[in-house]
């Protein structure tokens, strides 16, 4: 019987520390996750957090979650080499039960890093992602997973992501980090029932579930009247996600941990800190109830059962029907997209037009057609907010 743990994704900021102190004092935090590459910079890891990471690691209750690897970037750079070198040091110094990264590309062209963006499902992209995840796996030797992405340019990104992720982790028998707020965003933005979307994922691969809050943004260019749900990790968890969680856990027989996420520097007052601690208490209660039910029914399958699957047919189908892309196309599409999104003179319409007219991208014209203007506008905001250009 696999017990599910309730945990926190840790942040180094003081407001986060203050908000989570009560739940640590109550002894109800079973597991913690650390986005380890956040600690590789000049800021380092605060001593209070360093001690916690060592403690939870020694108890086998620490997971690592990379942010800046950019697993779907088609062009391999020295930045990724350095990232892997740092990962070697990281896993040698802390005891991570498993390691995961994000789906999407966040590095292309002139950009060292930006937010993760979706990738068209094609053979080239699958091979790129598989290879990049294998590189992590070769270093850690343990379970490696990937988290689903909230950002989608269109329905095609949303519908393809489940099978895309399945194929990415298949060669390493990896796992899926199912972020239900990310799916909540897609459900709202594309009008698809959330459980239907969740069931499009390889749920037997889910070992970790993330739950968080977010916010809404409006289209400044008037591409839509509807608010767009964003995965900003800066607000309370929508109550419907807590309601949904027991059903999701039922669908994920190998789920091991549910982690509550919120960014540091997002607590504006004492009330918001208390609210976050209460959210964790709610999460703990839900997980405990599910564990009690599992103990009675004996319903869960232990994670240790291997779940190696055959590669699904879609890759072959996709290739046979001309869906495969030129090896150079993906790299050029990623760098061109970043360049266009960052260009202040362009709006979403002109970005889409330029991509459509570019002969290098003929093989992914269907994908470009599926891009929605309102989501390209979100892409513009994301790259302006998070984009870091290479210093020449």
């Amino acid at each position: 019987m696999t017990e599910i743990f309730a945990g926190l994704s840790m942040m180094p900021e003081d407001d986060f520390r203050e908000s989570v102190y009560p739940v640590f004092e109550e002894g109800i935090v079973d597991w913690i996750e650390w986005s380890f590459d956040m600690g590789w910079g000049e800021r380092g890891v605060p001593s209070w957090l360093d001690g916690l990471l060592s403690f939870y690691g020694s108890e086998g209750r620490l997971s690592g979650h990379g942010v800046q690897y950019s697993a779907m970037s088609d062009k391999w750079t020295t930045v990724q080499d350095r990232w892997l070198e740092n990962l070697k040091i990281e896993v040698a110094s802390r005891q991570y039960a498993h390691i995961s990264e994000h789906f999407g590309f966040a590095r292309a062209g002139d950009y060292t890093f930006a937010a993760p963006f979706p990738v068209p499902l094609c053979k080239r992209a699958v091979e790129t992602g598989q290879e990049n995840l294998q590189r992590i796996h070769r270093i850690t030797g343990g379970p490696v997973g990937i988290e689903n992405l909230a950002m989608a340019f269109g329905t095609r990104d949303v519908e393809d992501q489940g099978r895309f992720l399945d194929s990415l982790v298949a060669p390493i028998n990896g796992f899926l980090v199912l972020d239900i707020h990310n799916i909540h965003c897609q459900s709202i933005n594309f009008g698809i029932p959330i459980l239907e979307l969740i069931q499009s994922y390889p749920l037997e691969r889910v070992m970790e579930i993330h739950i968080s809050g977010g916010s809404f943004s409006e289209s400044k260019m008037g591409y839509t009247d509807k608010s767009i749900r964003r995965d900003t990790h800066d607000g309370p968890v929508p109550s419907e996600l807590f309601t949904l969680l027991p059903d999701v856990l039922k669908l994920c027989p190998n789920a091991k941990v549910v982690l509550l996420e919120r960014l540091g520097n997002t607590f504006s007052n004492k009330a918001s800190k208390k609210e976050f601690a209460n959210e964790f208490r709610d999460l703990k209660k839900i997980v405990s109830k599910v564990n009690e039910k599992r103990a009675i029914t004996g319903g869960a399958v232990p994670f240790e059962v291997p779940f190696q699957r055959e590669m699904t047919n879609w890759v072959r189908e996709n290739t046979d029907t001309g869906g495969n892309v030129d090896p150079q196309c993906l790299e050029e599409l990623q760098s061109t997209l970043f360049m266009l999104l960052a260009d202040n003179r362009k709006n979403a319409e002109s970005i889409k037009d330029e991509l459509k007219r570019d002969k290098r991208f003929t093989s992914v014209s269907d994908y470009i057609d599926s891009m929605e203007l309102r989501m390209l506008e979100v892409g513009q905001e994301l790259i302006k907010k998070w984009g870091v250009k290479t210093v020449n």
Binding site: R17, E18, Y21, F24, E25, G27, L52, F55
Partner: protein, 76 residues
């Protein structure tokens, strides 16, 4: 999962407070020291001159070093 007290103290910020208090005490001591030296400078100018600009021609014990107590107050 119950945490050891030292880790809980870290999350509570107690350690940070301890460091902050220590820093304030140090600064206060340094300030007091400075004040005393200032008083020394005011009330015992001849001796202080000997401290800052040691005169090789003046034999001990009139030549002071910083490791010796301030003649005006006795504080090191």
């Amino acid at each position: 999962m119950k945490l050891p007290n030292n880790l809980l103290d870290g999350i509570s910020g107690k350690k940070n407070n301890g460091v902050a208090i220590f820093a304030v005490v140090l600064m206060a001591l340094a300030g007091m020291g400075g004040l005393f030296w200032g008083m020394c400078a005011k009330f015992a100018p001849e001796t202080i001159k000997g401290l800052t600009l040691p005169d090789a021609n003046v034999p001990p014990p009139d030549r002071l070093t910083r490791s010796e107590p301030c003649p005006a107050c006795g504080m090191g």
